[in-house]
C-alpha cells in the first residue's frame, strides 16, 4: 500500500489494537446482527444436531442428549468479515472434538460442510474444527444464545471469520473434498482466516 488517504489518521490505537487482525475494529459492547435469511422459529423440542457423511457412526442428538455431553467453553475474540471484532466473549456448549469422538471420522474425511436448520451451509477443513478449535454452543456470556445470534445453538469456530460459525446449526457432514457453502459460493473465501485477511475468493 503505497498511497494513503488524504486527511485520514484513524482512531487512536488502544491497547486492544494488537489483538485485532488486520483491517478489523473493536465493536465494543455492541454485537451486530448480520444474516441473509429470515431468523427461523426453532423449537427446542424439535431441535437436533447430526454428524453424517464419512464417519463410522452417523449420529443425531436431541437438545437433552447434547446437553448431557461433557461441557466446554470458549473464551476469547470473534471476528466478522465485515470488519468488526468483538473481544472477550464466552461461548458455552460442547466441543466438536467430543462429538467427533463419538461419531469417529473415517480416514478419508478431510472437510466438513456445516449445515443449519435454515438450509445455510458453510465449509471448513476438518482440521479447523478439531483440536479444541470449534464448539457447538447454546450460551453466550452466561445466557441462552439469542435467536438473532443463532440460538438455540450455533457453531463457533473463532479462529476463522464468523460466517463460518453457522447460526442455527443442525449438523456437520464429513466429506473427502471441499464443498463450498452458502457465502463461499457467493464470493467469500473457502477458509476465511482473519489474520491472513482471507475475506473473498482469491484472497
Amino acid at each position: 500500500m503505497s498511497r494513503f488517504t488524504r486527511g485520514f489518521t484513524g482512531r487512536s490505537r488502544g491497547a486492544e489494537a494488537s489483538r485485532l487482525p488486520p483491517g478489523q475494529y473493536d465493536t465494543g459492547t455492541t454485537w451486530p446482527v448480520l444474516t441473509a435469511e429470515p431468523t427461523p422459529r426453532l423449537s427446542i423440542a424439535a431441535w437436533s444436531f447430526a454428524i453424517e457423511g464419512l464417519v463410522e457412526r452417523p449420529i443425531s442428538w436431541t437438545w437433552e442428549e447434547i446437553h448431557a455431553l461433557t461441557p466446554a467453553t470458549y473464551h476469547g475474540d470473534i471476528h466478522c468479515v465485515t470488519t468488526w471484532s468483538k473481544l472477550g466473549m464466552t461461548f458455552s456448549g460442547v466441543s466438536v472434538d467430543t462429538l467427533l469422538e463419538i461419531a469417529r471420522p473415517l480416514a478419508d474425511a478431510t472437510h466438513v460442510l456445516a449445515f443449519s436448520h435454515t438450509g445455510y451451509t458453510t465449509n471448513l477443513p476438518l482440521a479447523d474444527v478439531t483440536g479444541g478449535r470449534a464448539w457447538v454452543t447454546w450460551e453466550v456470556d452466561g445466557r441462552p444464545l439469542p435467536v438473532d445470534h443463532g440460538g438455540p445453538a450455533r457453531l463457533v469456530v473463532p479462529h476463522l471469520y464468523f460466517w463460518k460459525s453457522a447460526k442455527w446449526i443442525a449438523g456437520l457432514r464429513l466429506l473427502d473434498h471441499d464443498e463450498p457453502g452458502f457465502w463461499e459460493r457467493n464470493g467469500y473465501h473457502d477458509r476465511g482466516d482473519p489474520w491472513l485477511e482471507q475475506r473473498y475468493q482469491g484472497d
Partner: protein, 242 residues
C-alpha cells in the same frame, strides 16, 4: 436457501477511485459519486468496500451498497449515512472532497442481488433503501417497472433518500413518526397492509435495514405466506455475512 451462482468468482482487487461529486440526500446522508480507475459491471444490490489508510499504515474499511443502476458507467453512486461513532462514515462526510482518491474493492456479494427479470418486492428501512434504489433504477431504466414494488419506511419526510425520484406507481413510502403534510396514512410502524402482496405469489422479497426493521418486515412477509426461501435480507451495520 438457494444460491445465485455456483461458479467461483475471480478475485476482486483493490483499486483507486476519484470522488467526482458529493450530494446531500438528507441532513445525515450524502451520495458520493466515484469514478473507478478500472470499471467493473455490478449487479443491482451489490456493494463495495471502501478502505481508508493512515500514513502509518493503519486502515479502516466498511462496505457500502451501490445506489446506482448497472449501466456500464465508470461512475458509481454510494449513499453513506453519517453515524456519529462511525470511523469511516464520519471521515467520508467531514473530510472527503471532490477530487480525493479513495481505495475501493468490489463489486461484492451475489446473494442480495436482483437480476432485473423476475418479480421483486423491495422493502427498505431508512438507509436500507440504498441497494433497493439500484434495483428500482435498473427496473425503470430497462422499462420493467412492472416487476418491482418498493416500500420504504422512514421516520419523517426529512429522512427520505432520493425523495424527488422515488414517487411512482411502483413505490410506497411509509412514515413511522411524522408524515408529510396532507398525507392520508397515519404515521406508524410498517404493517402488512403497507405491503403490496396479493397478486405476486412468485415474488422474491429483498429486505434491507436495521436488524430490528429487518426482523419486523420479515415477520410480516412470513405471516403473509411468503416462503422463507423467497426472502433475502441485508441487515445493518455493514453488509455481508457474519
Amino acid at each position: 436457501m438457494t444460491e445465485t451462482s455456483a461458479e467461483s468468482p475471480a478475485p476482486t482487487p483493490w483499486q483507486f477511485a476519484t470522488v467526482v461529486s458529493i450530494t446531500d440526500e438528507t441532513s445525515h446522508a450524502k451520495t458520493f459519486r466515484l469514478r473507478l480507475d478500472r470499471p467493473a459491471t455490478h449487479l443491482a444490490g451489490q456493494h463495495y468496500v471502501i478502505r481508508l489508510t493512515a500514513p502509518d499504515g493503519y486502515t479502516a474499511s466498511r462496505s457500502y451498497s451501490v445506489a446506482s443502476a448497472p449501466e456500464g458507467s465508470p461512475e458509481l453512486d454510494f449513499t453513506v449515512e453519517r453515524l456519529d461513532d462511525g470511523e469511516v462514515s464520519t471521515f467520508l462526510h467531514d473530510v472527503v472532497q471532490p477530487g480525493d482518491e479513495l481505495e475501493v474493492r468490489g463489486p461484492i456479494g451475489r446473494w442480495f442481488v436482483w437480476n432485473g427479470t423476475s418479480p421483486a418486492l423491495l422493502v427498505g428501512g431508512g438507509s436500507g433503501v440504498v441497494p433497493l434504489a439500484a434495483m428500482l433504477r435498473l427496473a425503470r431504466r430497462t422499462g420493467r417497472s412492472d416487476l418491482v414494488r418498493l416500500v420504504v419506511s422512514v421516520r419523517s419526510p426529512e429522512d427520505l433518500y432520493y425523495g424527488a425520484e422515488l414517487p411512482g406507481p411502483e413505490t410506497t413510502v411509509v412514515y413511522t413518526r411524522r408524515g408529510p403534510h396532507g398525507g392520508t396514512r397515519p404515521p406508524g410502524r410498517l404493517t402488512a397492509a403497507d405491503l403490496p402482496l396479493a397478486p405476486r405469489r412468485a415474488v422474491t422479497a429483498y429486505v434491507c435495514g436495521s436488524a430490528g426493521f429487518a426482523n419486523h418486515a420479515t415477520d410480516l412477509l412470513l405471516d403473509a405466506g411468503i416462503a422463507a426461501t423467497a426472502i433475502r435480507i441485508e441487515r445493518f451495520g455493514p453488509t455481508g455475512p457474519t
